[in-house]
């Protein structure tokens, strides 16, 4: 009898091509997602060495970081460097024969939204991409993580990666979430507890009733930010919700192959008694809607809180907190709900899916954004956008005073024209509040879609539950 294994152990074991004496493994990669920013040097490397893409049918490319999200984008990309980068991907996809969703394709969108949407991401797979938020795909019980460009080239050429196994960490969220609390609040609360380096060296498996209760969209939000906690990957064991999400997607198996796949997927869970090197437990009912106050995703507080003082911290964090407060223009003791917001951004691979847009629209219905508020919604893919239009969500956003954009990464990292100006303060559903992330000297507060909508209406960071009470 074999020893009890975690979900991570099982997926790992099924993908080892070769193991060296020192434990270094060659791991097979089932799906390789590619975008325009981290791939040009890798394709160039293949050309220079005369190498081919080993498995173009398992390689999926889509431009997302640089693409304009304004409605006139058919006229092309104004910024020359951005245009060259997208054109390079057009050419590389064609030359090397990989699956491709160009800017003009309605299925184009953020790579981590397109992958699951098209059925490329399935349980038990290994999925990599030259992008740290590849962790998103872990929501399917797939081992998914970001890689650098040298590794992109390595996967293109060999369909494998040289890896050492990480340790196992369990994050259990027990009980039920209270109304107004979402997957985003869970994942931020976890990082608030572990710190941004708490997951370093680990693969996290999220479990517990509050996780099981989440939709696939919510699970993707949780896993998406595993990297913000330093983990190599986040995983959630697949279940009936996972299978229902995958069924019928363009690249999901059909017929007998589907049946075979589901019976394999049902073996993908952590065995009773399997060993975890680290365990973190949160009580779902104790999680409040949260916001970030600083410039690291670990700078998390419940919306009912006040801005901390550097003296509240120890070690290197004292100086980091002082720097963050200065950058963010905040005063210790200030109530979070007294922080005035200039801009609201709803979108990104963290919160750009249909359920996120529904959550924001539910708060915005029949309301207007605060005077002077700049507010935009950037759907995660062309198909999310189409569905939101069909459901009437787009009209709710437009009537409230939001800009209704085309799909892309947009203001999450501001490589396209969607940027913050110096000092501009944004409530954002994205994943990083680093200095300069959304534009030089821009100030980012990470929140859930409902909290972003609430801030848009009141003009201040706001407890979404106060606005929910009005609609009940």
């Amino acid at each position: 009898m074999t020893a009890p294994r975690t979900l991570y152990d099982k997926i790992w074991d099924d993908h080892v091509v070769h193991q060296a004496e020192d434990g270094t493994c060659l791991l097979y990669i089932d799906r390789h997602l590619v975008h325009e920013v981290t791939s040009p040097q890798a394709f160039e490397g293949l050309r220079m060495t005369g190498r081919k893409v080993r498995a173009p049918e398992k390689t999926i490319a889509v431009p997302d970081h640089n693409v304009p999200t304004t409605l006139d984008r058919a006229k092309g990309i104004e910024n020359e460097e951005s245009r060259i980068q997208v054109e390079a991907l057009d050419k590389n996809a064609k030359d090397f024969g990989v699956n491709y969703y160009p800017v003009s394709d309605v299925r184009q969108g953020i790579v981590h939204i397109v992958g699951p949407e098209q059925g490329w991401t399935l349980p038990g797979m290994t999925v990599v991409c030259g992008d740290s938020h590849t962790a998103t795909h872990g929501a399917f019980g797939a081992l998914a993580h970001g890689i650098g460009t040298s590794e992109v080239e390595h996967v293109l050429a060999t369909q494998t990666l040289i890896q050492k196994k990480s340790k196992n960490m369990k994050v259990e969220v027990t009980g039920k979430l209270r109304p107004g609390v979402t997957a985003k609040d869970i994942t931020l609360a976890v990082i608030g507890k572990t710190g941004t380096a708490g997951g370093t060296g680990y693969v996290i498996e999220y479990c517990g009733e509050a996780i099981r209760d989440l939709s696939m969209e919510g699970r993707m939000t949780v896993c998406n930010m595993a990297i913000e906690g330093g983990a190599r990957a986040g995983l959630i064991a697949p279940d009936e919700k996972t299978f229902a999400y995958c069924m019928g997607r363009p690249h999901a198996p059909k017929g007998a192959a589907w049946e075979a796949a589901v019976s394999y997927w049902k073996t993908l869970f952590t065995d009773e008694g399997a060993h975890f090197d680290k365990v973190i437990t949160l009580k779902g009912e104790e999680i409040e809607p949260v916001v970030t106050w600083g410039t690291s995703p670990e700078d998390v507080l419940p919306i009912s809180g006040v801005v901390p003082s550097p003296e509240d911290f120890t070690g290197g964090k004292v100086e980091a907190a002082r720097r963050s407060l200065e950058y963010m223009g905040l005063t210790p003791g200030q109530k979070l709900t007294d922080i005035k917001i200039d801009t609201v951004f709803i979108g990104s691979c963290t919160n750009g899916r249909i359920e996120d847009l529904r959550a924001a629209a539910a708060i915005l219905k029949g309301k207007k954004v605060a005077p002077g508020m700049r507010a935009m919604v950037v759907p995660g893919s062309g198909l999310v956008r189409a569905q939101a239009e069909e459901e009437g969500l787009a009209q709710i956003f437009i009537d409230a005073g939001f800009e209704w954009r085309l799909a892309g990464c947009s203001m999450c990292l501001a490589m396209n024209p969607d940027q913050l100006s110096p000092g501009e303060r944004c409530a954002s559903t994205s994943n990083r509040n680093f200095e300069g992330r959304q534009g030089r000297n821009g100030r980012t507060h990470l929140v859930s879609p409902g909290m972003a909508a609430a801030a848009a209406i009141t003009g201040y960071l706001t407890d979404v539950r106060e606005l929910m009470a009005e609609t009940v």
Partner: protein, 201 residues
């Protein structure tokens, strides 16, 4: 990739914790389709004003740290994005070694692919190295990969550990892809087996 054997150089002290990849190389410089030329934009928003003037008190704008080859950093260096532009920018500036109590996983991997040696040391050692780095130009630190030691200017020596395979690749400047392609037969047979076990992939 250039070999890394033994480095004797100036170390710049950067005690800030959580120095992220967006600080190391902001997104506006990710639009390049080349690997080279990023050194001038390393730490761009910490190093230059909006008008492009140098910020005098940023460490790499001060002598002798303009010629630093080593960085001694606070916890969790390189957190954030997977952008390999971060090690490319460090390398292009001339940095061959970063020493911290901890590194973000993807950044750590990316360093080895570019001939940069990231070294994890306990807090008390990082504290000693940070002090030594603050001494400036006469304080050359020695990083010896073969012996796996870091030595301060006053002769204190500290051992570090490194994965043997990665050490081998760095010492010899080896290309991973070439090494993996030598295992093509193993990849072929894995694919054949996977095709019967998980045909839907």
């Amino acid at each position: 990739m250039d070999k890394f054997t033994k480095l004797t150089g100036i170390a710049a002290p950067m005690p800030l914790v959580n120095i992220d990849t967006d600080m190391i190389i902001p997104k506006q410089f990710l639009k390049t389709i080349q690997r080279s030329g990023l050194g001038k934009n390393l730490f761009d928003e910490m190093r230059y004003t909006q008008d492009g003037a140098e910020i005098a008190d940023f460490v790499l704008n001060k002598e002798p740290y303009r010629k630093a080859e080593i960085i001694i950093a606070g916890d969790n260096f390189g957190c954030g994005s997977s952008r390999e532009h971060a090690p490319w920018a460090l390398l292009d500036f001339g940095i061959r070694c970063v020493i911290s109590t901890s590194f973000a996983d993807i950044f750590y991997n990316n360093c080895f692919k570019n001939g940069i040696l990231p070294i994890v040391m306990p807090q008390e050692v990082v504290d000693v190295l940070m002090e030594d780095a603050r001494k400036g130009g006469n304080a050359r630190m020695v990083v010896d990969l073969e012996a796996q030691t870091v030595s301060t200017s006053d002769g204190q020596s500290f051992a570090f550990s490194v994965d043997p395979f990665r050490k081998h690749c760095l010492l010899n400047g080896l290309d991973d892809i070439g090494l993996t392609l030598e295992k093509a037969t193993a990849i072929d047979s894995f694919e054949a087996k996977a095709k019967t076990l998980r045909p839907w992939i």
